[in-house]
């Protein structure tokens, strides 16, 4: 692949996490260049961190206080954010993607999900890790978009198995179709709630690629 080198900046107060992510990025093929700014949020806005393609954001730099405000500022200024959190509750996960984060991963999810999430985010695409998939499958908030039974089934299966090959084999569909279902869910979610550039880009791209039609999208957000 002749794609240019992806750079990412990580904000995380745990040095072990940053070191682990650095190792995963170096081992990735092609490798990802990582800027570690520790727990200084300013490092994301100035210096080498300001030019990074992707921000890997620890939601809880202050324990017990998820920093949704900073996430919103990052998204509003057009940054592509992967939230990497020790939080595992549905509300937090869904709030992050509603604010415009392209991916939400719990810290139990390792390089198998973080590296693809960084690559997807660098291209402005979403990545749905199993934990987020479970959160979306179990979402019962009143303003959630309407998902088809098949989409919910795929979300549940992806959460359960964390292997798209297994999901595809179990549901007798292709891995590509699994991806399409998940992508459609994310587009439906991007189309409701708060407006954000990353979200509108997802919707536009999905419409352009024919992943979902405008009619389906409108129906889902009713």
């Amino acid at each position: 692949m002749a794609a240019e080198l992806i750079t990412a900046v990580i904000v995380d107060d745990h040095v072990a996490i940053a070191a682990g992510v650095r190792y995963w990025c170096e081992q990735a093929d092609p490798p990802i260049s990582l800027v570690d700014v520790g727990d200084r949020l300013s490092g994301v806005w100035t210096g080498p961190g300001a030019d990074a393609d992707v921000v890997i954001f620890d939601l809880e730099l202050v324990p017990g206080k998820p920093d949704f405000g900073e996430l919103r500022r990052l998204v509003d200024s057009g940054r592509r954010v992967v939230v990497y959190s020790q939080h595992a509750d549905n509300v937090t996960a869904i709030k992050c993607i509603d604010l415009g984060a392209l991916a939400y991963l719990t810290k139990r999810e390792g390089p198998n999900h973080l590296v693809p999430a960084i690559r997807a985010a660098a291209e402005g695409r979403e990545y749905t890790a199993p934990s987020l998939s479970g959160a979306l499958a179990a979402d019962d908030t009143p303003d959630r978009p309407r998902l088809s039974p098949r989409e919910t089934e795929v979300l549940r299966a992806w959460f359960a198995s964390s292997s798209k090959e297994l999901v595809a084999a179990k549901l007798h569909i292709t891995v590509k179709t699994v991806d399409t279902h998940i992508a459609r869910v994310r587009v439906k979610y991007a189309n409701v709630g708060r407006a954000a550039r990353t979200k509108s880009e997802l919707v536009t791209r999905a419409l352009d690629d024919g992943v979902i039609t405008l009619a389906e999208l409108n129906q889902a957000s009713l």
Binding site: A138, A160, S161, S162, S163, L166, K170
Partner: protein, 365 residues
Amino acid sequence: MSDDETQAQLRRGLRIATLLVAVLTVDVLGLINLLRHLESHVVPAAQFVAIVALTVVLGTEAVLMIRRKPWQFLRWPALALVFGASALSYLTLPDGKTSTSVDWMFGATGWVVLVVLLDRPLRTVATFLVAHEALALVNLLLFHDVSRGTLARFATGSVTVFGLPLCVAVVAAVLGRIGREAVKATRELEGIRTAEAVAEAAHQRRTQRFAELAGTTVPLLEGLADGSLVPSDPAVRRGCAIEAARMRRLFAETDTVENPLLHELRHCADIADRKGVEVELDARGQWPVPPVVVRRDLTDAALTALATADSWARITVVGSADLVSVSVVADCAEPVEPASATPHVRVEIFGGDGTVWMEAQWQPS
């Protein structure tokens, strides 16, 4: 419950009896005395007003009693009326006729006071009876000739005027206390009966649990004991792991926890964890608490897969109000036989290439 009813019946009986006595005293005896000595009275109209006032109070009590209602806010106006009527009758009494049969009011007031205050504490009744005595005495001392004769009449009259209503009030109070004690004793008895029933049920549960283990665990233990099963056999070891997990689950079933399904799954996972299997457990959503039989079916698939997993397993629960799904994905070298499930729970097994995926689904109705 029936004791409460008995007590209520006794109280009602006493209420009716008191009212009857009061009506007899006021409207029969009182009226006869009043009519017989009508010419002795200076202002007969005042005496008639007084007897009508007392009759109104008794009439009100009769209505309240039929409707099974207490006096409540009417109580104090009624007492004021009674005392007003007494004062009127005493003040218009001819000279020297206190505590005689002309003084019909002297014997009547106490009973009417008792009618109004029957459901109040004894001290309230006593206070008002004493107040009436005081009223009659003050009238005697201030407006009539005080002689040994009048005082003696007053004293002997008071024995019945004050004493009889007080006796009835004492009976009412004692009746109330006995009733309360009976209710308390009944409650205690019920508490003991409940505790006995609980202990009985617990014992039954234990017996049943043992019976459930007897079908699968006991043969395994017997086989190991008599040497027909050898621990080196992988199938025996697997069987032991499954039984160990079942027992753990059984113990966990009685724990009082917020989410019993997750609690029991954690116990199942712990068994695999001890074998060195890397277990991930993740749950999403909220669901109603499934009954024990359903939880057993839901966890049984997980338990079997976990017991046979080689190195890793992922347990997930996704729940909502209308579907609870428990999945286990694990690297089981051997195919897992489908667990027997009740009709409530649907179990799907999917596998190949060393990975087994078992999903148990329950739809709360």
